[in-house]
Amino acid sequence: MKMEKVEQLRHYYLRHDKKFPHVWCPGCGNGIILGSLIRAIDKIGLSKDEVVLASGIGCAGRMPVYADFNTLHTTHGRALTFATGIKLARPELNLITVMGDGDATGIGGNHFIHAARRNLNLTAIIINNQIYGMTGGQYSPTTPYGAKAATATGGHLEHAFSIADLAVTAGASFVARGTVYHVPHLDKLIEQGIRKNGFAVIEIMAYCHTQFGRRNKMGDAVTMMEKLRDRAVAVKDPGAAGSPGTAVAAGASDTPGAAASAGALDSDSLDTLDGKFAIGVLTDVEKPDYIAEYARLRAASRLNAQNAGNAGK
């Protein structure tokens, strides 16, 4: 009997020598994101050897353990640091990093903004569950004001920032936000991010029912998933009309339905437990990526050296 496509993908891309079911809690969206990533890479048609998947530490950071690419499980907050080194040494490889909100914007925040500013051709997938999941629910830079955390038992006194907004401001050439509810949409965002020549950020709104949901009486995985469905509002792609970002066709319930214009939504709503937030492609601009710039400089330097040599003769 022929295997279904989805079975082929599992056999081909998941590591056979790792223990399944995986380590994540029942209902955690991390497994859903792994599925999206695999489908996106398969759709683009990259071979496994052409892909490097690097992560830091955290529940999100466990992802490369299960996927059969060139993988690195690095130190907390340093996925982009390692990825930068690999990309500079082997520019022909496709570098994808998977990070948690704490990993990417807490301890790794400086690496994140400077990777965006540098515009090196990397894809940064950030799983925003608004908490340090792995270590027991300490608050992260995206934990909303007033929310309870292991280190904010009386309600959080600080404010969350928007990872996507931060990425735009820091200079990323592609920035998108999706959720673990809107899966076909997420597949497309990840695909676009990988294809983008430049620093691409895909912030994925997820949940940690175990460490965050429980403390904030937000219910189980099903309830938190429903919340993501209800809070997300699709924006129109700022780029070409008809591109995947505008895929807001009604029908499939996990395809975002409503369309708002970018900027109509206040990202401050991510500082609340129930405000609406935008999903879709938030920024898509063309600018020379670092590898191209470096090659240009090198060629110019060679030429200068040659000319200087000729003049001396």
């Binding site: 279904e4 496509k5 082929q8 079911p21 809690c25 029942p26 991390n30 398969d42």
Partner: protein, 90 residues
């Protein structure tokens, strides 16, 4: 007249963690939960093949397949062959 497609839901219980996402979000109430909280197929005939359950199962434990699709659909066969070829090349 085109015959209504039917679908089979295969659950790989060894990987299922009984999270309940598939049962809760299936638009056609194809599943119900057993005592362990795992999905059991209650009414396969109602399945419309939307694959919401397959895409949202965090544990890769659900496979939906079309039954009686004309020659299991020529398109599906092409996709399958090409991925096998691609795998060989790799």
């Amino acid at each position: 007249m085109a015959k209504k497609k039917s679908y089979r839901q295969h659950i790989f219980y060894d990987w299922c963690k009984a999270c309940g996402l598939c049962v809760a979000f299936c638009p056609k109430q194809v599943y119900r939960r057993n005592e362990e909280g795992q999905p059991v197929v209650a009414d396969a005939a109602k399945c419309v093949g939307c694959r919401f359950c397959e895409l949202h199962c965090p544990d890769f434990a659900i496979t939906i397949s079309a039954v009686d699709a004309p020659s299991r659909s020529a398109a599906a066969h092409t996709a399958q062959t090409s991925i096998e070829e691609a795998a060989d090349e790799r």
